[in-house]
Symmetry: C2
Subunit: 439 residues, 2 copies
């Protein structure tokens, strides 16, 4: 069977371009009321019955018949054995990737995740203390979309932040364990791991059970049940973002081989039929060349069917008037992954305000970033790069303001605070400040 | 009418202390289905009908009969006039507070909010670009709980972050405008302001109308309708935390005048009957002294009734075995405001892992921090200090990863990425990496 892929061809000079682009970008995170109802029930049940409920749901949804939670725990020795049993090349690759990811996140912590303070002219101390979370939970999908790289990308920043305990949950439908996922947990320094998934796993982490410890934050991707459960436990625990379909946007000036760009568009499209791959380019002949490469390369790909559905349904090749205009449109899209396939990436980068990750120059394929360049591959999707950031060390830290007002400081600040507090009708606030004034 | 306040007295050595503390801390963010239904309808209506819907709801809920949205806009000249019309003392106090808050947040930006990058041994560039949000919305409550200080605390960090446009919304029931709130908007550098509130204001900011521009993030406190609306538009826009009742925890070694501590407990309690004030102290005689001060001072307070309800319903005076144990219990509570009323605050501070803000030493009353010490007064409540942080410049910035892989880097990383991508069954990822290897 052969497939054809022809992403929608648009030009910014077309009448109706804005509407056509908007329609192409449209993606709705519709909530399914059946999913919502099921999740409500599962959360309440796990909260009430703990381990017993987790065992029931794991039996029902994953077909695992076990009598006790200890049979659902992956012990450190099993993780280690999985790592040691990998083919040499995989083991080396996993360690190499982990080391790069660790180095990058260590630099991130140093650059923006340390405590700071200063003294003002009154001798008062002001600052912030940055501390790691005590315990976090990492959700790792099982089954067909089991990604060991995601284990590294979630667990390593937590580890670098100094999180005390990292609890991983991963469903193993019908008992199938993915050795690369187990090995990644070993390499990334996961503290404990359970073969539990779905809303029941999220509930166990959020509320705690007799066996699964309650965590302070849950990160990691999952299906609609997991996303719904995370949304509902938010507040009880912290969560990372709720991810939509993955996206790539390539800004091309025509200098990168068209096959490379075509393959980069494929690499996003192969994730999922709903994934979105967009090319922006001022050169129509180059766009033709990329379309030609898509035709030529598609049927070499084992996942050609998914790629074709994604490109035909959600892909776009957009002819812009200029690279400057391409940058403007990219800002409107606020893509998860943004490649600047140009010989002058540093000319365009300052114009790009919203993106999860920016890949500069033709050699920087998104796939290098996905696995081993170092930066995190958990990135904001669906235009949320307008206001949110890649997963990072900062997601596993929190800040406490530090305020130590000196006696002299209290004497000056007290007058001001009292004035404003009386203005707000909060007299106890005012009195508390006034009591500290010099008599 | 006189009031009595007697917070629950507990001792950690009591049998059943853990359960008693848990019961005292219990606060449930129950959602009210009537509120939820109303909010669903308002959001959909504003999304569909824009300005017309906003005008309808503002008429219905705030009693404002106006014919056009321009009548709901507070023009810069009106904000400036409000500022200039303030009594001298208030004007000076507002400016002084704004300057302190600005200095602190500038230090915060410098310490943890700047872009960074480095080159690895292959010449690849890795880092993060930190950019301000384009446009944010600030919700300011109107009516009885109108706090100008909150205008400063929300708008100034956004301004320091470099946000392009700051849109303020504030309800003015029956047309009553609070001059201090308007003046604060002038001082803090708000770009545009509308006298709109409730779920309709949140909807206007999240979706945009003909007049109100769509924003990227909404911050600021509000009532149950506002909180529900913020929760629902999350994803469409960013939001800050959803705040619960305010809390103070005082760790006292007995060295601070008991009246000061009593007044600090009052200053939290006067906010709201559901506010929570807790004292932890190893000295039972000092606890008696604080209780005595509560008796003596309560009826001097204009808000004595609220204070009494809050202290009687949710307050606690807890006798601990030691200051170390008090610190442990404080970590369990993860309070919003944490005062260390001690002559050795730096001895105890390192033991305190979870708190929104830590106030060191007897001179540092919470009220100084609320108004003018500099740090933000928007802080995580209801134990969420376990995983979240004070509002800050970082809430108005987002990060984009920067990755520029050199030709030599692509040659090394490509082998690793391909190995891992094949392991995950993502062949297009692998091919994209392999195409960049040297031939």
């Amino acid at each position: 069977m052969t497939f054809q892929a022809k992403p929608l061809r648009l030009a910014t000079s077309d009448a109706g371009f804005d509407a056509a682009l908007k329609a192409r970008l449209h993606w709705s995170a519709e909530t399914d009321s059946q999913v919502e109802d099921a999740v409500t029930k599962i959360l309440a049940d796990v909260r009430k019955r703990g381990d017993a409920a987790v065992l029931d749901y794991t039996h029902r949804f994953d077909g695992l018949s076990v009598v006790g939670m200890d049979q659902l725990e992956l012990k450190p020795a099993e993780l280690k054995a999985a790592f040691e049993g990998l083919p040499d090349k995989q083991r080396v690759a996993l360690q190499f990737a982990a080391q790069r990811v660790r180095s990058y996140h260590e630099a991130q912590k140093k650059a923006s995740g340390e405590s700071w303070s200063y003294r003002d002219s009154d001798g008062s101390l002001l600052g912030q203390k940055v501390t790691p979370l005590d315990r976090v939970g990492i959700y790792v999908p099982g089954g067909k979309a089991a990604y060991p790289s995601s284990v590294l990308m979630n667990a390593i920043p937590a580890h670098v932040a100094g999180v005390g305990e990292i609890i991983m949950v991963v469903p193993t439908p019908r008992g199938e364990k993915n050795p690369l996922v187990l090995a990644a947990a070993h390499v990334a320094g996961v503290s404990r791991a359970f073969t539990v998934g779905g809303a029941q796993a999220v509930a166990a982490l959020a509320y705690g059970t007799e066996t699964v410890p309650r965590v302070d934050k849950i990160t990691g991707p999952g299906n609609a049940y997991v996303a719904s459960a995370k949304r509902r436990v938010f507040g009880q625990v912290g969560i990372d973002m709720i991810a939509g379909p993955s996206e790539i946007l390539v800004l091309a000036d025509g200098s990168t081989p068209a096959e490379w760009v075509a393959m980069d568009l494929f690499s996003q499209a192969e994730h999922d039929e709903l994934a979105q791959s967009i090319l922006l380019c001022p050169d129509p002949y180059y766009i033709d060349a990329v379309q030609g490469a898509i035709y030529r390369l598609l049927n070499e790909m084992p996942r050609a069917e998914i790629i074709a559905k994604s490109l035909n349904g959600r892909g776009a090749l957009i002819h812009t008037r200029s690279m400057e205009e391409a940058c403007e449109i990219s800002n409107r899209i606020a893509p998860e992954h943004l490649e600047i396939a140009s010989t002058e990436p540093h000319r365009w980068e300052p114009l790009l305000r919203h993106a999860g990750a920016i890949f500069l120059g033709g050699f920087t394929s998104e796939s290098l970033g996905d696995y081993c360049a170092g930066p995190n591959h958990v990135l904001p999707t669906s235009t949320t790069a307008r206001f949110s950031s890649p997963l990072g060390v900062y997601d596993f830290q929190k800040r406490s303001s530090i305020i130590e007002v000196s006696e002299a400081g209290a004497n000056q600040l007290g007058v001001i605070a009292a004035e404003l507090a009386y203005g707000e009708g909060l007299q106890a606030h005012a009195r508390a400040a006034e009591m500290r004034l010099k008599k």
